[in-house]
């Protein structure tokens, strides 16, 4: 049986090193690459096409959940194991909504990592003890699934700003803004920007501006 090809994504090299050591001890696992940021993880995933990605939730630029949804849009077969310091329901729920197969807490690595990777590679789901699986959580509305950043981007979109303008305002790259836009539209089940505006108005997120529309 061939080894499970694993990509490590974590912004802390010390942690990556720790993971690597631990995984290298296991004969069934091969660490094929590392990434330090969300966009890098996406890039490496596309290049290496690993079976399993061990992904840190809190990463700069694009966090683990967002990187995961982007990767899964292109490589739906990839098994992603989310590692996080946060046990709040919202994180767990959003991670699974993005399509990850496992969620473990970094501060309680009692479940051993190689075992979790093998479970995911075998198509099973892993969740750290003590966490509430999404199936047992109160179902959130579509809108409640949105992260703070996604809501901010949504606000700018319905105000008529382009990805470029939004990127300038938020100090992000245009690509990152595009990912946010795609993610939030997927989360809301909306495919066109015009529908997004209608949704926001219906929802009472924005009010129509008074007076004539600006000429542009």
């Amino acid at each position: 049986m061939s080894k499970i090809r694993v990509l490590l994504a974590d912004d802390h090299s010390l942690v990556r090193k720790g993971f690597r050591r631990m995984l290298e001890d296991d004969p069934d696992i091969e660490v094929v690459g590392e990434a330090a940021t969300g966009p890098q993880a996406v890039e490496e995933a596309e290049r290496l096409k690993p079976q399993v990605i061990v992904m840190d939730l809190a990463m700069p630029e694009l966090d683990g959940i967002q990187a995961a949804s982007q990767i899964l849009r292109k490589l739906p077969e990839t098994g992603i194991l989310m590692l996080s310091m946060y046990s709040e329901d919202a994180y767990v729920r959003n991670a699974f909504a993005a399509g990850v197969k496992g969620y473990l807490l970094k501060n309680a690595l009692e479940v051993d990592l190689p075992y979790a990777i093998k479970e995911i590679a075998a198509g099973r789901t892993v969740i750290a003890p003590g966490l509430t699986p999404p199936s047992q959580q109160e179902a959130p509305s579509d809108f409640e699934k949105l992260t703070q950043r996604e809501r901010e981007v949504l606000q700018h979109i319905v105000q008529g700003r382009s990805n470029k303008e939004i990127a300038a305002i938020l100090g992000l790259s245009v690509n990152t803004v595009a990912v946010h836009r795609a993610n939030l539209m997927q989360a809301l089940g909306i495919h066109r920007t015009a529908d997004l505006v209608v949704y926001a108005i219906k929802k009472g997120l924005v009010t129509l501006p008074e007076g004539p529309l600006p000429e542009k």
Binding site: H12, L14, V15, K17, G18, F19, R21, M22, D25, A58, D63, M85, Y86, E88, A90, Y91, K106, N107, A108, L109, D112, L113, F143, E144, T147, Q148, R149, R151, E152, L154, Q155, H156, I169, L170, K203, G204, L205, V206, T207
Partner: protein, 444 residues
């Protein structure tokens, strides 16, 4: 900017008051003296002059009557003896006597003693010659008597008439002079009154405008100080939040990750050792310690700045915090939410979150109850937050409410919103905050 030390306006005000009082005082003294002079001129000179003149006219009249009688006597046209005129002369003399006495008592200021003396002397001479006349008449020397009348008596009488006329003229002139003087005094007093009015108005204007100018400056300074204080308070809060956020991230990222890595390494070593090997139990304990420390670091990091706030926004953070709060304090929090939360910027989010924390902590510390109500209302324009308890209520003295309430006010002001601390009619407190959401810039 440079701030002038505020100067007290008391000195200026006192100076103005003194100037005004001095002007009024000087004028009063001056006016009183002028009025005194007027009174003197009026009663002493004019009145006395007039009364004196009346007596002088009476004397003149008597002298004229004497003249008529003397003419009749000298001409001898009437069929009466000279003696017959004696009772008439006696009556006139008595009247003159009375008039002269009154006149002497009224003697006006312009009369010199020499004039008075002359008047007495001439009258004395006149009556002496008249007595001579009656002597001659008694002796029957009518012609000699008539000659005496024509020569000496008539001459003395003419002197008398001239003298009295002159005195009358003198009186008239003195009166005219006095009237002129009175008019001069009147106009002088009038002029001085205008001068005083001008001086007092000027003093009031100067003092008043100085005080107003000073008040305005004080007000401007107070406004500036208040603005600066607000700015400073805002700055302090911002710096504090920035620090908390940095510390939280640092704790989480650095210490948290290092401890995670340590835990992993320990786990790896532990696994390599065979079951029951010496040291394996120790390793497990060390790993346990590392995990507990990690848990503490995570707790501290969350307390300083919860990551949910940055990742999922205020709405989710409130819900998460209320859960934590209930667990930690044993309080029961009734939570309700209206409307859909739009994107809420970091600034509004962190301040509203802190206000909620502080309000709930106040309930725990002061209200002495186990229940609280949290209500949140969202609209695209604003959000409202209400924290209610049915406990002890607000302290009577505002200073007892402490720094917490001041901080909440500062935060509400920073957001351009408002906060109210109300007593509930049935006991307890309601904290109500409103923050505008429209004004939020593109930057969170």
């Amino acid at each position: 900017m440079a701030m002038m030390p505020p100067r007290t306006p008391t000195l200026i005000q006192l100076l103005g008051l003194l100037v005004t009082l001095a002007a009024v005082g000087v004028f009063s003294i001056f006016t009183l003296r002028q009025v005194e002079q007027l009174r003197r001129l009026g009663s002493d000179i004019v009145d006395r002059n007039r009364r004196d003149s009346l007596q002088l006219i009476r004397i003149q009249d008597d002298v004229a009557q004497l003249g008529l009688a003397l003419r009749d006597m000298a001409e001898g046209a009437e069929p009466y003896p000279l003696e017959a005129y004696r009772p008439q002369f006696q009556r006139i003399r008595e009247d003159l006597q009375n008039a002269l006495e009154l006149e002497a008592r009224l003697m006006p200021a312009t009369r010199t003693p020499a004039q008075q003396k002359l008047l007495e002397t001439v009258f004395g001479r006149f009556w002496a010659v008249v007595d001579e006349l009656w002597q001659l008449a008694a002796e029957g020397r009518t012609e000699a008597a008539r000659a005496l009348i024509r020569t000496r008596i008539e001459a003395e009488r003419a002197t008398l008439a001239t003298l009295i006329s002159r005195l009358l003229i003198q009186n008239n002139e003195a009166e005219a002079a006095a009237v002129e003087e009175i008019q001069a005094i009147h106009s002088k007093v009038e002029r001085n009154l205008y001068a005083l009015l001008a001086a007092v108005i000027a003093a009031i204007l100067i003092t008043g405008s100085l005080v107003i100018w000073h008040d305005r400056r004080m007000f401007a300074q107070v406004a500036l100080l208040s603005e600066q204080r607000k700015e400073l308070a805002g700055q302090v809060i911002r710096v504090q939040e920035d620090l908390f956020r940095t510390l939280a991230r640092e704790l989480h990222d650095e210490f948290g990750q290092v401890l995670t890595a340590v835990g992993m390494m320990l786990l790896r070593v532990e696994k390599r050792l065979p079951e029951g090997a010496p040291g394996r139990e120790d390793l497990r304990e060390v790993r346990e310690i590392a995990n507990q420390t990690l848990e503490r670091v995570r707790g501290m990091s969350q307390m300083l700045h919860p990551p949910v706030l940055d990742d999922y926004g205020l709405e989710r953070s409130i819900e998460w915090y209320l859960g934590q709060f209930e667990k930690q304090t044993g309080m029961r929090v009734h939570y309700s939410k209206e409307g859909v939360a739009p994107w809420i910027g970091d600034t509004v989010a962190i301040h509203m979150y802190r206000i909620l924390q502080e309000s709930l902590n106040n309930v725990v510390r002061h209200a002495g109850v186990k229940e609280a109500w949290v209500r949140v209302r969202y609209s695209p324009e604003k959000m409202e937050l209400e924290v209610e308890d049915h406990g002890a209520g607000l302290p009577d003295k505002p200073q007892e409410s402490g720094l917490g309430m001041i901080g909440m006010r500062e935060r509400a002001e920073l957001l351009g919103g408002r906060i109210e601390f109300r007593r509930r009619p049935g006991g307890g407190t309601v904290v109500h905050v409103e923050a505008p959401l429209r004004a939020q810039g593109g930057k969170g």
